[in-house]
Protein backbone atom coordinates (compact mmCIF):
# COMPACT_ATOMS: atom_id res chain seq x y z
CA UNK A 1 0.00 0.00 0.00
CA UNK A 2 2.57 2.51 -1.17
CA UNK A 3 -0.19 5.14 -1.23
CA UNK A 4 -0.25 5.08 2.53
CA UNK A 5 3.38 6.04 2.88
CA UNK A 6 4.42 9.59 3.55
CA UNK A 7 7.97 9.70 4.83
CA UNK A 8 9.62 6.86 2.97
CA UNK A 9 7.70 6.89 -0.32
CA UNK A 10 10.66 8.40 -2.17
CA UNK A 11 13.34 6.19 -0.63
CA UNK A 12 15.60 4.62 -3.24
CA UNK A 13 14.58 6.80 -6.20
CA UNK A 14 17.61 7.35 -8.44
CA UNK A 15 19.80 10.19 -7.23
CA UNK A 16 17.24 11.30 -4.65
CA UNK A 17 19.93 12.31 -2.15
CA UNK A 18 20.97 15.08 -4.56
CA UNK A 19 18.98 18.23 -5.18
CA UNK A 20 18.52 17.38 -8.84
CA UNK A 21 17.30 13.87 -8.12
CA UNK A 22 14.96 15.06 -5.38
CA UNK A 23 13.45 17.78 -7.57
CA UNK A 24 12.92 15.24 -10.34
CA UNK A 25 10.45 13.38 -8.10
CA UNK A 26 8.62 16.51 -6.96
CA UNK A 27 11.03 17.73 -4.32
CA UNK A 28 10.73 21.33 -3.10
CA UNK A 29 7.24 21.71 -4.59
CA UNK A 30 6.03 21.89 -0.98
CA UNK A 31 8.35 24.79 -0.25
CA UNK A 32 7.42 26.49 -3.51
CA UNK A 33 3.77 26.23 -2.52
CA UNK A 34 4.48 27.31 1.07
CA UNK A 35 5.97 30.66 0.05
CA UNK A 36 2.71 31.52 -1.72
CA UNK A 37 0.72 30.93 1.48
CA UNK A 38 0.57 32.90 4.71
CA UNK A 39 2.13 31.48 7.88
CA UNK A 40 -1.36 31.23 9.39
CA UNK A 41 -2.56 29.10 6.46
CA UNK A 42 0.38 26.72 6.90
CA UNK A 43 -0.12 26.48 10.65
CA UNK A 44 -3.77 25.63 9.98
CA UNK A 45 -2.76 22.81 7.63
CA UNK A 46 -0.30 21.47 10.20
CA UNK A 47 -2.95 21.65 12.91
CA UNK A 48 -5.52 19.87 10.74
CA UNK A 49 -2.98 17.16 9.90
CA UNK A 50 -2.93 16.30 13.61
CA UNK A 51 0.86 15.90 13.41
CA UNK A 52 2.41 15.27 16.81
CA UNK A 53 6.12 15.54 17.58
CA UNK A 54 8.16 12.44 16.81
CA UNK A 55 11.02 13.28 19.18
CA UNK A 56 9.51 11.45 22.14
CA UNK A 57 7.00 13.65 23.89
CA UNK A 58 4.39 13.63 21.11
CA UNK A 59 3.42 17.27 21.48
CA UNK A 60 1.10 18.59 18.72
CA UNK A 61 3.34 20.45 16.29
CA UNK A 62 0.90 23.15 15.16
CA UNK A 63 0.09 24.00 18.77
CA UNK A 64 3.77 24.22 19.69
CA UNK A 65 4.31 26.62 16.82
CA UNK A 66 1.48 28.90 17.93
CA UNK A 67 3.17 29.46 21.32
CA UNK A 68 5.70 31.80 19.75
CA UNK A 69 5.00 35.32 20.99
CA UNK A 70 3.74 37.62 18.25
CA UNK A 71 6.16 40.05 16.70
CA UNK A 72 9.21 39.10 18.76
CA UNK A 73 12.29 38.69 16.57
CA UNK A 74 14.78 37.21 15.90
CA UNK A 75 13.40 33.72 16.18
CA UNK A 76 15.25 30.46 15.76
CA UNK A 77 14.48 26.94 14.67
CA UNK A 78 16.51 24.05 16.09
CA UNK A 79 16.28 20.74 14.31
CA UNK A 80 16.80 17.91 16.74
CA UNK A 81 18.98 15.34 14.97
CA UNK A 82 20.67 14.23 18.17
CA UNK A 83 18.97 10.81 18.01
CA UNK A 84 20.68 8.89 20.80
CA UNK A 85 17.83 6.92 22.30
CA UNK A 86 18.92 3.28 22.54
CA UNK A 87 17.12 1.34 19.82
CA UNK A 88 16.38 4.39 17.64
CA UNK A 89 17.83 4.74 14.19
CA UNK A 90 15.05 6.35 12.16
CA UNK A 91 16.40 9.89 11.98
CA UNK A 92 19.70 8.58 10.69
CA UNK A 93 17.76 6.63 8.05
CA UNK A 94 15.65 9.63 7.03
CA UNK A 95 18.82 11.72 6.68
CA UNK A 96 20.75 9.04 4.81
CA UNK A 97 17.92 8.33 2.37
CA UNK A 98 16.12 11.66 1.98
CA UNK A 99 18.28 14.51 3.24
CA UNK A 100 16.56 17.05 1.00
CA UNK A 101 13.12 16.04 2.27
CA UNK A 102 14.31 17.01 5.75
CA UNK A 103 15.82 20.21 4.45
CA UNK A 104 12.60 21.11 2.65
CA UNK A 105 10.69 20.50 5.88
CA UNK A 106 13.15 22.69 7.77
CA UNK A 107 12.70 25.51 5.27
CA UNK A 108 8.90 25.22 5.35
CA UNK A 109 8.96 25.46 9.15
CA UNK A 110 11.45 28.34 8.96
CA UNK A 111 9.24 30.22 6.53
CA UNK A 112 6.12 29.63 8.59
CA UNK A 113 7.75 30.70 11.84
CA UNK A 114 9.67 33.60 10.27
CA UNK A 115 12.97 32.45 11.73
CA UNK A 116 16.23 34.03 10.63
CA UNK A 117 18.43 31.01 11.38
CA UNK A 118 17.70 27.29 11.37
CA UNK A 119 20.24 25.11 13.15
CA UNK A 120 20.38 21.39 12.49
CA UNK A 121 21.93 19.90 15.62
CA UNK A 122 23.23 16.46 14.64
CA UNK A 123 24.93 14.09 17.05
CA UNK A 124 28.70 13.87 16.69
CA UNK A 125 28.65 10.17 15.93
CA UNK A 126 26.65 10.83 12.75
CA UNK A 127 29.66 12.35 11.05
CA UNK A 128 28.87 10.91 7.62
CA UNK A 129 25.30 12.23 7.87
CA UNK A 130 26.59 15.64 8.94
CA UNK A 131 28.75 15.81 5.84
CA UNK A 132 25.83 14.70 3.67
CA UNK A 133 23.65 17.46 5.12
CA UNK A 134 26.44 19.99 4.64
CA UNK A 135 26.54 19.07 0.97
CA UNK A 136 22.74 19.31 0.63
CA UNK A 137 22.63 22.67 2.37
CA UNK A 138 25.29 23.95 -0.02
CA UNK A 139 23.19 22.71 -2.96
CA UNK A 140 20.14 24.48 -1.55
CA UNK A 141 22.02 27.77 -1.20
CA UNK A 142 23.32 27.40 -4.73
CA UNK A 143 19.78 26.95 -6.04
CA UNK A 144 18.37 29.90 -4.12
CA UNK A 145 16.35 27.69 -1.76
CA UNK A 146 18.23 28.97 1.30
CA UNK A 147 20.07 32.15 2.17
CA UNK A 148 18.92 35.58 1.01
CA UNK A 149 15.76 36.25 -0.95
CA UNK A 150 14.64 32.61 -1.04
CA UNK A 151 12.76 31.70 -4.24
CA UNK A 152 12.67 35.32 -5.28
CA UNK A 153 10.83 36.46 -2.15
CA UNK A 154 11.90 38.94 0.51
CA UNK A 155 12.52 36.14 2.94
CA UNK A 156 16.05 35.36 4.21
CA UNK A 157 17.02 32.30 6.23
CA UNK A 158 20.41 30.84 7.04
CA UNK A 159 20.66 27.08 7.55
CA UNK A 160 23.55 25.84 9.69
CA UNK A 161 24.50 22.22 10.33
CA UNK A 162 25.99 21.90 13.79
CA UNK A 163 27.73 18.75 14.97
CA UNK A 164 27.35 17.58 18.57
CA UNK A 165 30.17 15.73 20.27
CA UNK A 166 28.79 12.75 22.13
CA UNK A 167 26.18 13.45 24.81
CA UNK A 168 22.74 11.83 24.95
CA UNK A 169 21.36 14.65 27.07
CA UNK A 170 21.83 17.11 24.19
CA UNK A 171 18.69 15.58 22.67
CA UNK A 172 16.71 17.24 25.47
CA UNK A 173 15.63 20.51 23.90
CA UNK A 174 17.04 22.95 26.45
CA UNK A 175 20.32 21.03 26.78
CA UNK A 176 20.53 21.15 22.99
CA UNK A 177 20.16 24.92 23.14
CA UNK A 178 22.90 25.20 25.78
CA UNK A 179 25.16 23.03 23.66
CA UNK A 180 24.49 25.16 20.58
CA UNK A 181 25.48 28.21 22.60
CA UNK A 182 28.83 26.55 23.29
CA UNK A 183 28.18 25.38 26.83
CA UNK A 184 28.08 22.01 28.53
CA UNK A 185 24.81 20.48 27.38
CA UNK A 186 22.71 20.63 30.54
CA UNK A 187 18.96 21.14 30.71
CA UNK A 188 17.51 24.50 31.68
CA UNK A 189 14.67 25.12 34.06
CA UNK A 190 11.29 25.28 32.32
CA UNK A 191 9.41 27.62 32.22
CA UNK A 192 10.35 29.74 30.42
CA UNK A 193 9.88 27.33 27.55
CA UNK A 194 12.08 27.70 24.47
CA UNK A 195 9.14 29.21 22.56
CA UNK A 196 9.38 32.21 24.88
CA UNK A 197 13.09 32.27 25.71
CA UNK A 198 15.29 29.75 23.89
CA UNK A 199 18.46 30.07 21.88
CA UNK A 200 20.34 33.28 22.78
CA UNK A 201 17.29 34.28 24.81
CA UNK A 202 15.05 34.46 21.72
CA UNK A 203 11.85 32.60 20.85
CA UNK A 204 12.87 29.16 19.58
CA UNK A 205 11.13 26.09 18.24
CA UNK A 206 12.80 22.69 18.61
CA UNK A 207 11.48 19.95 16.34
CA UNK A 208 12.59 16.42 15.58
CA UNK A 209 13.92 15.28 12.18
CA UNK A 210 10.96 12.99 11.48
CA UNK A 211 8.44 15.63 12.54
CA UNK A 212 9.85 18.12 10.03
CA UNK A 213 10.25 15.54 7.26
CA UNK A 214 6.44 15.27 7.16
CA UNK A 215 5.95 18.91 6.25
CA UNK A 216 6.56 18.80 2.48
CA UNK A 217 3.74 16.26 2.17
CA UNK A 218 1.41 18.12 4.52
CA UNK A 219 1.83 21.43 2.69
CA UNK A 220 1.56 19.90 -0.77
CA UNK A 221 -1.26 17.42 -0.19
CA UNK A 222 -2.99 19.18 2.69
CA UNK A 223 -3.41 18.36 6.35
CA UNK A 224 -6.56 16.36 5.64
CA UNK A 225 -4.71 13.96 3.33
CA UNK A 226 -2.18 13.33 6.06
CA UNK A 227 -4.88 12.81 8.67
CA UNK A 228 -6.57 10.23 6.42
CA UNK A 229 -3.78 7.86 7.39
CA UNK A 230 -3.93 6.31 10.83
CA UNK A 231 -6.81 7.09 13.16
CA UNK A 232 -8.43 10.25 14.48
CA UNK A 233 -6.57 9.95 17.79
CA UNK A 234 -3.22 9.01 16.21
CA UNK A 235 -3.19 10.43 12.72
CA UNK A 236 -0.53 9.90 10.11
CA UNK A 237 2.24 7.41 9.69
CA UNK A 238 5.36 6.86 11.66
CA UNK A 239 8.71 5.23 11.07
CA UNK A 240 9.31 2.54 13.66
CA UNK A 241 12.80 1.16 14.26
CA UNK A 242 12.52 -2.55 14.91
CA UNK A 243 15.61 -4.23 16.34
CA UNK A 244 16.78 -7.03 18.60
CA UNK A 245 15.62 -10.60 18.17
CA UNK A 246 13.77 -10.32 14.86
CA UNK A 247 14.53 -11.82 11.46
CA UNK A 248 14.66 -8.51 9.58
CA UNK A 249 15.58 -5.57 11.80
CA UNK A 250 15.06 -2.20 10.17
CA UNK A 251 12.90 0.88 9.76
CA UNK A 252 9.24 0.35 8.87
CA UNK A 253 6.82 3.14 8.08
CA UNK A 254 3.28 2.22 9.08
CA UNK A 255 0.04 4.09 9.73
CA UNK A 256 -0.47 4.68 13.44
CA UNK A 257 -3.52 3.47 15.30
CA UNK A 258 -4.50 0.86 12.73
CA UNK A 259 -1.24 -1.10 13.07
CA UNK A 260 -0.60 -3.32 16.09
CA UNK A 261 2.65 -4.46 17.65
CA UNK A 262 1.95 -7.87 16.11
CA UNK A 263 1.72 -6.34 12.61
CA UNK A 264 4.97 -4.49 13.13
CA UNK A 265 6.71 -7.60 14.42
CA UNK A 266 5.44 -9.49 11.38
CA UNK A 267 6.85 -6.86 9.02
CA UNK A 268 10.22 -7.43 10.63
CA UNK A 269 9.93 -11.17 9.94
CA UNK A 270 8.77 -12.18 13.41
CA UNK A 271 10.88 -13.32 16.34
CA UNK A 272 14.11 -14.80 14.99
CA UNK A 273 15.03 -18.47 14.90
CA UNK A 274 11.37 -19.46 15.37
CA UNK A 275 11.57 -18.60 19.06
CA UNK A 276 8.87 -17.26 21.32
CA UNK A 277 8.56 -13.63 22.35
CA UNK A 278 9.48 -12.90 25.93
CA UNK A 279 9.24 -9.13 26.08
CA UNK A 280 9.47 -5.99 24.01
CA UNK A 281 10.34 -2.40 24.66
CA UNK A 282 8.51 0.24 22.64
CA UNK A 283 9.66 3.83 22.41
CA UNK A 284 13.39 3.32 22.93
CA UNK A 285 15.55 2.64 25.97
CA UNK A 286 13.59 5.00 28.18
CA UNK A 287 10.24 3.29 28.06
CA UNK A 288 8.53 0.56 30.05
CA UNK A 289 8.54 -3.10 29.12
CA UNK A 290 5.60 -4.83 27.45
CA UNK A 291 4.95 -8.55 27.11
CA UNK A 292 3.39 -10.98 24.60
CA UNK A 293 0.02 -10.12 26.14
CA UNK A 294 0.34 -6.67 24.55
CA UNK A 295 0.92 -7.81 20.96
CA UNK A 296 -2.55 -6.74 19.86
CA UNK A 297 -2.25 -3.24 21.26
CA UNK A 298 -2.44 -0.72 18.41
CA UNK A 299 0.37 1.77 17.85
CA UNK A 300 -1.73 4.56 19.25
CA UNK A 301 -0.53 7.10 21.82
CA UNK A 302 -3.31 6.37 24.27
CA UNK A 303 -3.55 2.61 23.81
CA UNK A 304 0.15 2.18 24.49
CA UNK A 305 -0.07 4.50 27.49
CA UNK A 306 -2.97 2.42 28.82
CA UNK A 307 -0.79 -0.67 28.45
CA UNK A 308 1.72 1.01 30.76
CA UNK A 309 4.32 2.24 28.31
CA UNK A 310 4.78 4.82 25.57
CA UNK A 311 5.54 5.08 21.87
CA UNK A 312 8.32 7.48 22.84
CA UNK A 313 10.73 7.94 19.97
CA UNK A 314 9.27 5.15 17.83
CA UNK A 315 11.49 2.16 18.46
CA UNK A 316 10.64 -1.46 19.16
CA UNK A 317 13.26 -3.70 20.71
CA UNK A 318 12.24 -7.34 20.62
CA UNK A 319 13.52 -9.94 23.12
CA UNK A 320 13.13 -13.67 22.67
CA UNK A 321 12.60 -16.33 25.32
CA UNK A 322 16.33 -16.72 26.04
CA UNK A 323 16.80 -13.07 27.05
CA UNK A 324 17.91 -12.18 30.56
CA UNK A 325 15.98 -9.07 31.52
CA UNK A 326 18.32 -8.32 34.40
CA UNK A 327 21.13 -8.09 31.86
CA UNK A 328 19.07 -5.86 29.56
CA UNK A 329 18.12 -3.61 32.48
CA UNK A 330 21.75 -3.47 33.57
CA UNK A 331 22.86 -2.24 30.15
CA UNK A 332 20.19 0.44 30.04
CA UNK A 333 21.01 1.59 33.57
CA UNK A 334 24.70 1.75 32.63
CA UNK A 335 23.75 3.88 29.67
CA UNK A 336 21.86 6.39 31.82
CA UNK A 337 24.66 6.41 34.38
CA UNK A 338 27.17 7.20 31.63
CA UNK A 339 24.91 9.86 30.11
CA UNK A 340 23.69 11.58 33.27
CA UNK A 341 24.83 15.17 32.83
CA UNK A 342 25.55 15.64 36.52
CA UNK A 343 23.41 18.71 37.00
CA UNK A 344 21.02 17.30 39.62
CA UNK A 345 21.83 14.98 42.51
CA UNK A 346 18.97 12.46 42.22
CA UNK A 347 20.04 11.53 38.70
CA UNK A 348 23.81 11.84 39.16
CA UNK A 349 23.91 9.79 42.36
CA UNK A 350 20.86 7.65 41.67
CA UNK A 351 22.11 6.26 38.38
CA UNK A 352 25.44 5.49 40.09
CA UNK A 353 23.82 3.43 42.85
CA UNK A 354 21.41 1.84 40.39
CA UNK A 355 24.29 0.78 38.16
CA UNK A 356 26.38 -0.64 41.02
CA UNK A 357 23.42 -2.63 42.22
CA UNK A 358 22.44 -3.95 38.79
CA UNK A 359 25.99 -5.20 38.22
CA UNK A 360 25.87 -7.08 41.53
CA UNK A 361 22.45 -8.48 40.70
CA UNK A 362 23.42 -9.59 37.21
CA UNK A 363 26.52 -11.32 38.59
CA UNK A 364 24.32 -13.14 41.10
CA UNK A 365 26.03 -11.65 44.16
CA UNK A 366 23.29 -9.30 45.36
CA UNK A 367 21.11 -10.37 48.27
CA UNK A 368 17.32 -10.42 48.22
CA UNK A 369 17.10 -7.36 50.42
CA UNK A 370 18.94 -5.38 47.76
CA UNK A 371 15.90 -5.67 45.52
CA UNK A 372 14.08 -3.50 48.05
CA UNK A 373 17.01 -1.09 47.92
CA UNK A 374 16.68 -0.98 44.14
CA UNK A 375 13.00 -0.08 44.38
CA UNK A 376 13.86 2.53 46.98
CA UNK A 377 16.57 4.13 44.82
CA UNK A 378 14.23 4.25 41.84
CA UNK A 379 11.37 5.69 43.89
CA UNK A 380 13.70 8.46 45.00
CA UNK A 381 14.61 9.27 41.40
CA UNK A 382 11.36 8.99 39.47
CA UNK A 383 9.67 12.38 39.46
CA UNK A 384 12.44 13.98 41.50
CA UNK A 385 15.01 14.63 38.81
CA UNK A 386 15.60 17.94 37.07
CA UNK A 387 14.76 16.52 33.64
CA UNK A 388 13.20 13.30 32.34
CA UNK A 389 16.57 11.57 31.85
CA UNK A 390 16.74 10.59 35.51
CA UNK A 391 13.09 9.60 35.67
CA UNK A 392 13.33 7.39 32.64
CA UNK A 393 16.49 5.75 33.98
CA UNK A 394 14.16 3.89 36.35
CA UNK A 395 11.28 3.01 34.05
CA UNK A 396 12.57 -0.04 32.23
CA UNK A 397 14.22 -1.63 35.25
CA UNK A 398 11.22 -1.15 37.52
CA UNK A 399 8.68 -2.28 34.91
CA UNK A 400 10.81 -5.37 34.14
CA UNK A 401 11.03 -6.14 37.85
CA UNK A 402 7.26 -5.86 38.17
CA UNK A 403 6.64 -8.09 35.14
CA UNK A 404 9.36 -10.67 35.94
CA UNK A 405 9.85 -10.58 39.73
CA UNK A 406 10.91 -14.24 39.83
CA UNK A 407 13.71 -13.64 37.35
CA UNK A 408 15.11 -10.81 39.46
CA UNK A 409 14.73 -12.91 42.61
CA UNK A 410 16.45 -15.92 41.03
CA UNK A 411 19.58 -13.82 40.50
CA UNK A 412 19.90 -13.03 44.20
CA UNK A 413 22.73 -15.04 45.72
CA UNK A 414 22.79 -17.38 42.69
CA UNK A 415 26.49 -16.66 42.10
CA UNK A 416 25.88 -16.32 38.38
CA UNK A 417 23.16 -15.38 35.94
CA UNK A 418 20.58 -18.19 36.14
CA UNK A 419 19.07 -17.31 32.77
CA UNK A 420 22.38 -17.59 30.96
CA UNK A 421 23.22 -20.79 32.81
CA UNK A 422 19.98 -22.37 31.57
CA UNK A 423 20.60 -21.32 27.97
CA UNK A 424 21.80 -23.95 25.49
CA UNK A 425 25.47 -23.29 24.64
CA UNK A 426 24.72 -22.28 21.05
CA UNK A 427 22.17 -19.61 21.89
Amino acid sequence: MADDLVLTRLVGRPGVTTLEGYERVGGYLGLRKAVTLTPEQIIDEVKSSGLRGRGGAGFPTGTKWSFLPRDVFPRYLCVNADESEPGCFKDRYLIDELPHQLLEGVLIAAFTLRVSHAFIYIRGEYRAQRELLDRCVAEAYEAGLAGRGILGTEWDCEVIVHGGAGAYICGEETALIDSLEGLRGQPRLKPPFPAIRGLYGSPTVVNNVETLSNLPFIVLEGGAAYAQRGTAASPGTRVFCVSGHVERPGNYEVPMGTTTFRDLLQKAGGVWKGRALKAMQPGGGSMQILGPQHLDVPLDFKAVADAGSSLGAGALVVMDQTTCLVDVAKRLVDFYHHESCGKCAPCREGTYFESQLMHRLEAGIASESELATLSDICANMDGRCFCPLGDTATWFVMSAYRMFPDEFLAHCGAGRCPVRAARPAAA
Binding site: S84, E85, P86, G87, F89, G285, A315, V317, T323
Partner: protein, 149 residues
Protein backbone atom coordinates in the same frame (compact mmCIF):
# COMPACT_ATOMS: atom_id res chain seq x y z
CA UNK B 1 32.56 26.45 20.63
CA UNK B 2 31.85 22.90 19.45
CA UNK B 3 32.77 23.63 15.81
CA UNK B 4 36.04 25.21 16.94
CA UNK B 5 36.91 22.14 18.99
CA UNK B 6 36.01 19.90 16.07
CA UNK B 7 38.33 21.86 13.80
CA UNK B 8 41.17 21.34 16.27
CA UNK B 9 40.46 17.66 16.71
CA UNK B 10 40.17 17.08 12.96
CA UNK B 11 43.60 18.63 12.59
CA UNK B 12 45.45 16.90 15.43
CA UNK B 13 43.38 13.81 16.18
CA UNK B 14 42.80 15.10 19.74
CA UNK B 15 42.70 18.37 21.67
CA UNK B 16 46.26 19.36 22.61
CA UNK B 17 46.27 21.80 25.54
CA UNK B 18 48.05 24.46 23.51
CA UNK B 19 45.25 24.31 20.95
CA UNK B 20 42.61 24.54 23.68
CA UNK B 21 44.36 27.68 24.91
CA UNK B 22 44.30 29.05 21.37
CA UNK B 23 40.55 28.36 21.06
CA UNK B 24 40.02 30.14 24.38
CA UNK B 25 41.93 33.16 23.18
CA UNK B 26 40.03 33.25 19.91
CA UNK B 27 36.66 33.08 21.71
CA UNK B 28 37.76 35.49 24.44
CA UNK B 29 37.38 32.93 27.21
CA UNK B 30 39.80 31.49 29.74
CA UNK B 31 41.20 28.00 28.99
CA UNK B 32 39.33 26.44 31.93
CA UNK B 33 36.03 27.50 30.38
CA UNK B 34 36.94 25.68 27.19
CA UNK B 35 38.16 22.64 29.12
CA UNK B 36 34.89 22.55 31.07
CA UNK B 37 33.05 22.21 27.78
CA UNK B 38 35.43 19.83 26.02
CA UNK B 39 35.53 17.42 28.98
CA UNK B 40 31.72 17.21 29.03
CA UNK B 41 31.49 15.62 25.59
CA UNK B 42 32.69 12.06 25.14
CA UNK B 43 33.95 12.50 21.58
CA UNK B 44 36.65 15.05 22.37
CA UNK B 45 39.93 13.35 23.26
CA UNK B 46 42.41 14.81 25.69
CA UNK B 47 44.95 12.18 24.59
CA UNK B 48 45.74 10.98 21.13
CA UNK B 49 43.99 7.68 20.37
CA UNK B 50 45.21 5.09 17.86
CA UNK B 51 45.06 5.92 14.20
CA UNK B 52 41.80 4.00 13.91
CA UNK B 53 39.22 4.36 16.65
CA UNK B 54 37.17 1.18 16.86
CA UNK B 55 33.94 1.60 18.84
CA UNK B 56 31.82 -1.48 19.43
CA UNK B 57 28.23 -0.71 20.40
CA UNK B 58 27.09 -2.85 23.32
CA UNK B 59 23.76 -1.25 24.05
CA UNK B 60 20.64 -3.42 24.16
CA UNK B 61 19.88 -3.98 20.47
CA UNK B 62 23.48 -4.91 19.70
CA UNK B 63 23.88 -6.92 22.91
CA UNK B 64 20.86 -9.03 22.01
CA UNK B 65 22.61 -9.98 18.78
CA UNK B 66 26.02 -10.83 20.16
CA UNK B 67 27.96 -7.59 20.65
CA UNK B 68 29.89 -8.92 23.67
CA UNK B 69 31.25 -11.74 21.52
CA UNK B 70 32.29 -9.26 18.82
CA UNK B 71 34.14 -7.10 21.33
CA UNK B 72 35.92 -10.14 22.77
CA UNK B 73 36.85 -11.31 19.28
CA UNK B 74 38.25 -7.90 18.33
CA UNK B 75 40.21 -7.85 21.59
CA UNK B 76 41.83 -11.16 20.62
CA UNK B 77 42.52 -10.11 17.03
CA UNK B 78 44.05 -6.80 18.05
CA UNK B 79 45.69 -8.18 21.19
CA UNK B 80 44.34 -5.41 23.42
CA UNK B 81 41.88 -4.99 26.26
CA UNK B 82 38.75 -2.88 25.96
CA UNK B 83 39.85 0.76 26.10
CA UNK B 84 43.47 0.14 25.10
CA UNK B 85 45.58 1.02 22.05
CA UNK B 86 47.68 -1.47 20.09
CA UNK B 87 51.48 -1.22 20.51
CA UNK B 88 51.90 0.02 16.93
CA UNK B 89 49.45 2.83 17.60
CA UNK B 90 47.14 1.72 14.78
CA UNK B 91 44.00 0.81 16.71
CA UNK B 92 42.19 1.89 19.85
CA UNK B 93 39.41 -0.47 20.91
CA UNK B 94 36.46 0.99 22.79
CA UNK B 95 33.51 -1.01 24.08
CA UNK B 96 31.82 1.74 26.09
CA UNK B 97 29.90 3.97 23.76
CA UNK B 98 26.41 5.40 23.41
CA UNK B 99 23.98 3.52 21.19
CA UNK B 100 25.34 4.38 17.74
CA UNK B 101 22.01 4.33 15.93
CA UNK B 102 22.84 1.26 13.90
CA UNK B 103 20.44 -1.14 15.65
CA UNK B 104 19.00 -2.23 12.31
CA UNK B 105 22.36 -3.78 11.47
CA UNK B 106 23.25 -5.06 14.92
CA UNK B 107 25.80 -6.01 16.03
CA UNK B 108 27.64 -3.01 14.68
CA UNK B 109 30.73 -0.92 15.25
CA UNK B 110 31.97 2.43 14.11
CA UNK B 111 35.54 2.77 12.95
CA UNK B 112 36.54 6.41 12.70
CA UNK B 113 33.53 7.98 10.99
CA UNK B 114 32.12 4.88 9.30
CA UNK B 115 29.62 2.29 10.50
CA UNK B 116 30.12 -1.39 9.89
CA UNK B 117 26.97 -3.41 10.43
CA UNK B 118 25.84 -7.06 10.61
CA UNK B 119 29.17 -8.04 12.13
CA UNK B 120 30.45 -11.58 12.40
CA UNK B 121 33.93 -12.58 13.60
CA UNK B 122 34.94 -13.22 9.96
CA UNK B 123 33.73 -9.84 8.83
CA UNK B 124 35.63 -8.17 11.69
CA UNK B 125 38.81 -9.95 10.58
CA UNK B 126 38.37 -8.66 7.04
CA UNK B 127 37.71 -5.11 8.17
CA UNK B 128 40.76 -5.07 10.43
CA UNK B 129 42.94 -6.62 7.73
CA UNK B 130 41.78 -4.01 5.21
CA UNK B 131 42.53 -1.19 7.62
CA UNK B 132 45.97 -2.64 8.36
CA UNK B 133 46.75 -2.90 4.63
CA UNK B 134 45.51 0.61 3.85
CA UNK B 135 48.15 3.31 3.54
CA UNK B 136 48.69 5.34 6.71
CA UNK B 137 46.05 8.03 6.98
CA UNK B 138 46.69 11.65 7.75
CA UNK B 139 45.49 12.85 11.12
CA UNK B 140 41.80 13.60 10.97
CA UNK B 141 41.34 11.82 7.65
CA UNK B 142 38.97 8.93 7.37
CA UNK B 143 40.01 5.35 7.08
CA UNK B 144 37.86 4.22 4.17
CA UNK B 145 34.20 3.54 3.55
CA UNK B 146 32.07 1.30 5.71
CA UNK B 147 28.45 0.27 5.37
CA UNK B 148 26.68 -3.02 5.23
CA UNK B 149 28.21 -5.97 3.49
Amino acid sequence: MLPALWAVQDQFGYLPSAAVAAVAEELELVPSEVAAVSSFYSMYFSHKPGQHFVQVCRNVSCALRGADGILAHLGRVLGVEDGATTADGLFTLEGTVECLGGCGGAPMMQVDRYSYEDLTPDRCDNIIAALRAAPPVEPGRDGGPGGRS
